[in-house]
């Protein structure tokens, strides 16, 4: 260790304290009447505003949630130890907010913006944004029209998601909900590498997850070089309930920074059922009256105001600058054309989608992706039930070539599910039916996809084309994956131009002929 010279210490101390003001301010102070279960009732603080941050003597921060006749209800965002009856509480005059900026990319933070990854303070210019912000009004939005590619064949073809959409991922535990979200984040790497595309920044909000799971997600994202364009907002199960229910709002605030600066962002709320539980806990402790399933009356509003913040902003910069409820810090850089896509996740109990929270969120979002344990166990992964999954607006955002191909795939799959029941009896079926069933099996087979291997949209189109046109009909089922591999390798090596045109949305006879020729050629090797 180097020697330390006293004058250096003095210089550093002086620099650190240069912002210290020595004159006294008028402070507003309240007194704790009662504290327990993460909630404090405070006397005084007559001028405090709802949602304001307050600070306790021991440095713990709190948020004012209840304003009553003669006291205020404060939820604690940290340690309860050291706070007792008669402790002083100070106003900060700041509504709960978070500092956002490009420096957050690649970082793991808590819902208050404090880094959790031990990489030191957040770098770069930061802008203050309130956690609770009103969603943009009608005139500042435009309908969804650009695709957000998840890289998953089953989703991009049949349940397409557009930039600015809110698509719910719903399913039982361990059916691969988070896996879909992570694959989608990994796939956004392409938007950053492709000079023709507009990059999508990602925010992963872990709310009420196990800390070990969060660490795993961060590790995965790092392994696939996805962390550099991703922010992880972590409120693990060990965090106080108020932090857990604020985490999605913090994620939305970060997403809005990208959205309002004319860029694209994708935010994943993993998961909102745990957020609802955290909010229920806080509400009950604040003695708000419980309703159905003991959730408070404003549980619907809790989710709707969060998900409404996902939006596609109008292209006109002048209009976008007038946007409602813009934080003052944002005024300098507001641009139109940005978007915030939300992928909320809901965990159901034993497939019960008619429970309170799932029905609420289903009705708020623009569609949902159902995941089923039966499919998962049958080896169909991602375990998406395409029959009941829908995307209400994404169709407008799908590229033309994919749209053409996907219609046929959907139809064939629907017919297959209907006939499949018969096939199980092993009954004698006429050849036409048999053919349909065989086709369906192959379609299902090509929709299977390994985890962490999102696929570019042009390759998805190529393989779906091959299957729906019947080129795989004579390929044994267990060879389909191998076929896919060879077929795509060949296309990449010899027909890069065709793939490129597919990506731009073109699909004419010339392209179809080339694809058909290759598909047929390769199928021969497997017969």
């Amino acid at each position: 260790m180097k020697g330390i010279r006293p004058d250096e210490i003095t210089a550093i101390l002086r620099q650190e304290l240069s912002g210290f003001r020595s004159e006294a301010d008028l402070e507003e102070v309240g007194t704790v009447l009662q504290v327990g279960d993460g909630v404090a009732r405070v006397y005084g603080l007559t001028e405090v505003r709802a949602g304001e941050m307050v600070e306790f003597e021991n440095g713990t921060k709190g948020i004012v949630l209840n304003l009553e006749e003669d006291n205020v209800g404060v939820v604690l965002l940290g340690e309860e130890a050291g706070i007792k009856e008669g402790s002083k509480v100070q106003r900060t005059r700041e509504i709960a907010s978070i500092l956002v900026g490009d420096g957050l990319l690649g970082r793991v933070i808590n819902p208050l913006g404090e880094p959790l990854d031990g990489k030191g303070p957040i770098q770069g210019k930061l802008y203050r944004s309130p956690l609770e912000r009103k969603a943009p009004g009608v005139i500042y939005r435009r309908p969804v029209h650009q695709p957000l590619q998840t890289g998953l064949k089953a989703i991009d073809s049949m349940i397409p998601i557009g930039r600015g959409q809110r698509e719910l991922i719903i399913g039982d535990r361990s059916t691969g909900k988070t896996a879909i979200a992570i694959d989608t984040i990994i796939n956004q790497r392409r938007t950053h590498e492709d000079p023709d595309d507009e990059p999508v920044y990602c925010i992963y909000v872990a709310c009420g997850q196990k800390a070990s799971t969060i660490a795993q997600v961060v590790d995965t994202l790092q392994r696939y070089n996805a962390m550099e364009y991703t922010v992880v907002v972590a409120a693990p199960a060990s965090a106080p309930a108020p932090l857990q229910f604020l985490a999605p709002y913090a994620g939305a605030a970060i997403g809005e920074y990208f959205r309002d600066s004319g860029r694209h962002a994708l935010v994943i709320y993993d998961d909102l059922s745990k957020q609802a539980v955290a909010y229920r806990e806080v509400s009950l402790l604040l003695r708000r009256p419980p309703g159905r399933e003991a959730y408070p009356g404003d549980i619907f509003y809790l989710h709707s105001r969060l998900l409404e913040r996902a939006a596609k902003i109008i292209d006109d910069d002048e209009v976008a600058k007038q946007m409602n409820d813009l934080p003052p810090d944002f005024r300098s850089f507001v641009k139109g054309g940005g978007s915030l896509t939300a992928l909320p996740i809901i965990e159901t109990q034993a497939g019960d989608v008619a429970a309170y929270i799932p029905t609420n969120v289903i009705s708020i979002t623009d569609g949902q992706i159902y995941l089923e344990p039966d499919l998962f166990n049958a080896g169909i992964r991602p375990a998406i039930n395409v029959g009941i999954s829908v995307s209400r607006v994404g169709g407008n955002a799908q590229i033309r070539s994919m749209k053409k191909i996907a219609g046929r795939l959907k139809l064939e799959l629907a017919q297959y599910w209907e006939l499949e029941a018969f096939a199980k009896f092993g009954a004698d079926l006429d050849p036409a039916t048999m053919r349909q069933i065989e086709r369906g099996r192959r379609n299902v087979e090509i929709l299977k996809q390994k985890q962490y291997s999102p696929m570019p949209v042009e390759e998805q189109i190529a393989i779906i084309f091959a299957s729906t046109r019947g080129f795989l009909d004579n390929v044994p089922l267990n060879k389909v994956a191998e076929y896919e591999q060879q077929y795509l390798d060949y296309l990449r090596a010899n027909h890069a131009d065709v793939l490129k045109r597919l990506k731009q949305g073109e699909l004419d006879d010339a392209i179809e002929n080339t694809l058909a020729k290759v598909a047929e050629e390769i199928a021969k090797q497997f017969q």
Binding site: E27, V29, G59, G120
Partner: protein, 185 residues
């Protein structure tokens, strides 16, 4: 319901009754004495707060204690309080009554907390300053808290100006906490 809110209602009723009977000043004086008694006599405080002694018994004892010393109105009030089972919030009621009294009479209660007792000249100065600022009659309370190390704090309701060494040190600590130390050596 919170004890503060109940206390407020009792205090208001008592104040209005006293006003009707033109006994506000005596009521105030006597309640101040009770406040003092609650502070100094631990036995009395425990007696008031005790959940074991039946309310009826408490009322009888209160009658015996205060009949000769206090006005009829206050004695009756305390008795009634005990019979209604609200005697445990007597300290809050006294406080609420005083707040109400000061508010009605345009008096602002301010408090000076200092590390050591202050000279009366300084107190007068602070009083004059507050009176000029709030345009109200000021009742200045004094409290000594050695924890402050030096200097003083002025409290007006829930507003406070901190001019103590303790507060300064706290602020300093926060400052260090905010600007994370960056190695430059």
């Amino acid at each position: 319901m919170l004890p503060e809110r109940i206390a407020h209602r009792w205090a208001k009723a008592l104040y209005e009754l006293a006003q009707e009977r033109n006994e506000v000043e005596t009521a105030k004086e006597e309640l101040l004495q009770i406040q003092q008694l609650l502070k100094t006599s631990k036995e009395f405080f425990l007696f008031i707060k005790s959940p074991i002694i039946p309310h009826k018994r408490k009322a009888e004892i209160i009658k015996k204690l205060f009949e000769q010393r206090f006005s009829a109105m206050i004695t009756l009030f305390l008795e009634k309080l005990a019979l209604k089972g609200r005697e445990t919030i007597l300290p809050e009621i006294v406080k609420a009554f005083m707040d109400y009294y000061y508010e009605r009479n345009g008096i602002l209660v301010a408090k000076v907390v200092s590390a050591a007792p202050l000279d009366s000249s300084i107190l007068e100065e602070i009083k004059a300053f507050l009176a000029a600022r709030y345009k109200k009659q000021i009742l200045l309370e004094q409290e000594v808290k050695p924890r402050l190390i030096g200097g003083f704090q002025i409290w007006v309701k829930d507003k406070m100006v901190d001019l103590s060494i303790y507060g300064r040190l706290q602020q300093l600590r926060k400052q260090f906490h905010l600007t994370e130390y960056k190695a430059r050596v």
